[in-house]
Amino acid sequence: MAITRLGGANAITGTIPQGNIANASLGAVTALPAAIATGKVLQVLSTAKTGGFSTTSSSLTDLTGLSVAITPSSSSNKIFITAYINGLVDASSGAYGGRYQLVRGSTEIAKADASGSKQLGTGSPGGRDGGPFTANTTINFLDSPSSTSELTYKIQLAHTQSKTIRVNEADGNPNDSTYGLKMISTITAYEIAG
């Protein structure tokens, strides 16, 4: 027998056989128990950047077109950000350093701990070493913004050695069908019930 104990209206324990659960009764459920009210995905917004971007900036600059704006419905909710970036440091002269930084508005978030004079970031583009191929970088970060205002999440990037970082493209010559690859990058924001 699946039901193991009947001790009153609020004391039924055990397992209901799967065949005894009717879809009609499940359809009547209008709310989840309070105990599992958190963790639900309330909204999802995403942006895809399909054009190329390149920079030689040594200071963090916006990766134009790779941002997403979201307005939390409650200040206790969290925002889960995922960003997928195809990029590379064009290191034909042996310079590899570059960094991505996740930013909310003008606030840098998801930042590494300080370490001497190292430049800090959230992630790093791939380096070119013998071939102009890109590396994809994935950034996942759960933010607690404590806000119900519209929030803009974006990616900034900078080179540490004044060379070129390319995003969404592997080679500078559009007519190069051998190495001239083009890709896309995305950023997605999920509002999670807090």
Binding site: G51, G52, F53, S54, T55, T56, S57, S58, S59, T61, T64, G65, S162, T164, G172, N173, P174, N175
Partner: protein
């Protein structure tokens, strides 16, 4: 065409700049870099493209030459193997003559 940022770096190797969507109208200059005019950038792009095009013979030869491994084998083996390899190289050179030659 050669891309914009490559042309800018040829004009000013220390330029700090961003280019969006390969669009000459979407250039941002950073950290005090003196902007370069669109006309100068476009002229440099045309110049670099001409240089790139002029070396097509070299890229074609490199694509069809025997591999380095084949060359080593031919040099070690000598005889007909080396003669055949040299003939292949000569045929490739004839097929793709040097620009202006």
């Amino acid at each position: 065409m050669i891309d914009i940022i490559k042309a800018i770096q040829k004009i000013n190797p220390n330029a700090e700049v961003s280019v969006n969507d390969d669009d000459i109208n979407q250039i941002t200059w950073h950290n005090g870099t003196t902007p370069i005019s669109k006309a100068d950038i476009e002229a440099k792009m045309a110049e670099l493209q001409a240089e790139y095009d002029a070396e097509e013979w070299k890229r074609n030869r490199q694509a069809e030459y025997p591999t380095l491994q084949d060359c080593i084998h031919a040099l070690l083996d000598g005889g007909d193997t080396l003669t055949e390899l040299q003939a292949k190289r000569t045929a490739t050179k004839t097929k793709y003559p040097k620009s202006g030659a």
